[in-house]
């Protein structure tokens, strides 16, 4: 019995080696792009900035704009890798096996359905966590190295906040569980792929929408109009009968916000995983 555990992971890796190679290429590609931006283009952009300082009209600041936009785009891609994970988990990882009957092949090769699902979730989870961690570290490095060149992207932007912390990994793990559950419930590749994608998009949409409420914001009131600190995330502001008010998250709220949301997403992942096992136990003897 215990010897089969050595064989089962090998089988799962062999079955999904294409997906693993693509994922490795994505991680390496995005990391390489960040390195290129910072090591090659950032220096040129800074040189142009310095040259600019001596003239009144400076068209070269477009370079700076380009750099910031590109980093923003990479952050967007890193953030939404979880959608690709959801599609993979609902489709190729579990859904296709149930639709084509190959899951039954595995279950009659002396592997219980529970151990099959465990291997199907654990190995991709390792890949998602390792890849996600690499991307987050690379992005954090790229972000801090070139922060002076990023005028248009802020820490509280919906995708940047995900890409700069454990949320990337948490969303990826949750997407795996959601994909597996959708596939076990629907047992159709395309339907499960779509459902997992939609469910993860919705979860991210709702958490993004209510993200500012996940940690108590700071409220300031004043008789005069309020200057917020640098880099503050303005949640609400205006003027009422008592004077001016502003509700905001200072940059120091990045980590509390990050951890609370990570906790929520990981809890959702745990619940979904438990549900997936419950469905599997009911479906298979």
């Amino acid at each position: 019995m215990s010897a089969a555990l050595q064989g089962l992971p090998r089988t799962v890796l062999r079955l999904h080696r294409t997906a693993l190679l693509v994922w490795a290429a994505v991680v390496a590609g995005l990391t390489g792009w960040l390195v290129y931006l910072n090591e090659v283009t950032a220096a040129a952009t800074r040189r142009a900035e310095r040259a600019c300082a001596h003239t009144d009209v400076c068209i070269d600041s477009f370079d700076r704009f380009d750099y910031g936009t590109t980093v923003g785009w990479i952050g967007t891609l890193i953030c939404y890798t979880f959608l690709a994970v959801a599609a993979f988990a609902g489709g190729a990882l579990v859904g296709r096996e149930l639709e084509s009957g190959t899951a039954r092949l595995a279950w009659t090769q002396g592997v219980t359905p529970v151990r099959w699902l465990t291997a199907k979730l654990a190995l991709p989870a390792v890949a998602v966590a390792a890849g996600g961690l690499t991307l987050v570290l690379a992005f954090r490095w790229g972000w801090s190295a070139g922060e002076d060149l990023i005028p248009v992207t802020h820490w509280y932007q919906s995708d940047i906040i995900v890409a700069r912390g454990p949320l990337t990994v948490a969303y990826g793990l949750c997407a795996l569980a959601v994909g597996a559950l959708a596939a076990l419930l629907l047992r159709r590749t395309l339907a499960a792929l779509g459902a997992a994608f939609a469910a993860m998009w919705l979860l991210n949409f709702l958490l993004t929408r209510y993200r500012a409420d996940l940690w108590p914001a700071i409220t300031r009131t004043s008789g005069r109009s309020i200057e917020l600190p640098d880099n503050a995330w303005r949640v609400n502001s205006g003027r009422n009968a008592d004077g001016y008010f502003a509700v905001y998250h200072p940059a120091s709220h990045f980590w509390p916000l990050q951890w609370v949301e990570t906790g929520i997403v990981l809890a959702a992942a745990a619940l979904t995983t438990a549900a997936a096992y419950a469905v599997l136990r009911r479906r298979a003897a």
Binding site: A3, A4, Q6, G7, L8, R10, T11, R14, L15, T18, S100, G101, T102, R104, L105, A106, W107, T108, Q109, G110, V111, T112, R282, A284, A285
Partner: protein, 298 residues
């Protein structure tokens, strides 16, 4: 080791809460070491019964004992080939067999599996997705035989094979059964396909098990009779089917005692027996298996 390969009592499976019963009230006993034909028309519940035995579906009601234990507990000792022969299309033949070795670490018999594959002139490096239906059947059978099962469940195994391959693979299966005492259950809706190789019969019809037992016993329990229509009284016997043509009555019966002397009798063929039961779903089921010996060990 149990002397009973499969034993069902009141076994039923319904799909969904309001769905119809795919199988109901199934009760039979299959002794170990038999080669059993599971015969019945499409939709009779054959595949459901095999999936229940393979531990792929939980029964809705009743009980099914596999090799003396639960279907899930017997998983490692049971081989199963589903009707559509699912295999991973992205793997090569060699990788598929390596998967068999990986997933059945203590039982895998690489020589047997490779021999089955080699019989079909298959290149081990070709991908499963490039194989024909018959070649896929061969690989699926190799996977099932390679785990050296005590009970082998085959759902319509020969449907995709040409006559030559069918003959050869049937020979392989029979050799396996003879050498290792493997119990084999194979389903088909064609009786003739299995008649020569099987010694046990399970006849499924509209979700019920209509006949169960050794083929010889079942045949011996039935008679084809014919006689004059107005003077023949068969009410003392179980009549499976009777037909009157002109003044001639022909019937398939289970005699319950001595028959009137003016009847002509003959032993029915297996095909006649099966067709008569399928044409007459009202005929009572018959289980001619040896007495149930639950719990007794060989």
């Amino acid at each position: 080791m149990s002397d009973t390969a499969l034993e069902a009592t009141g076994l039923g499976k319904r799909f969904g809460r309001r769905g119809g019963w795919a199988l109901r009230d199934a009760a039979f006993r299959l002794p170990a070491g038999r080669v059993c034909a599971l015969v019945g028309p499409n939709g009779a519940g054959k595949s459901t019964l095999l999936a229940l035995a393979a531990g792929l579906l939980p029964p809705t009601e009743g009980r099914l004992t596999v090799l003396g234990g639960t279907p899930a507990g017997a998983r490692a000792r049971v081989g199963f080939v589903a009707q559509d022969k699912p295999l991973y299309p992205q793997l090569t033949v060699a990788e598929t067999l390596r998967m068999g070795a990986d997933l059945n670490p203590e039982r895998w018999d690489a020589a047997t599996a490779e021999q089955v594959v080699a019989g079909g002139d298959l290149d081990p490096r070709s991908r499963i997705r490039s194989l024909s239906g018959g070649q896929r059947t061969r690989v699926a059978l190799a996977l099932a035989l390679g785990k050296r099962p005590e009970l082998l469940l085959l759902d319509e195994p020969m449907a995709d094979l040409d006559p030559l391959a069918r003959h050869e693979l049937m020979g392989t299966l029979m050799a396996e059964a003879a050498q290792y005492g493997t119990t084999i259950v194979m389903s088909s809706h064609v009786v003739a396909e299995l008649e020569d190789s099987c010694d046990h019969l399970l006849l499924a019809g509209s979700g019920r098990i209509r006949l169960a037992g050794e083929i010889d016993d079942l045949l011996a329990a039935h008679l084809r009779v014919s006689g004059a229509a107005e003077s023949t009284d068969l009410s003392a016997h179980t009549v499976v089917e009777s037909r009157v043509t002109g003044r001639q009555l022909t019937a398939l019966i289970r005699p319950a005692g001595p028959l009137p002397g003016d009847l002509r009798t003959s032993v029915p063929s297996l095909e006649e027996l099966v067709l008569a039961h399928l044409r007459n779903p009202g005929a009572p089921a018959l289980s001619a298996a040896p007495a149930v010996t639950q719990g007794s060990a060989a």
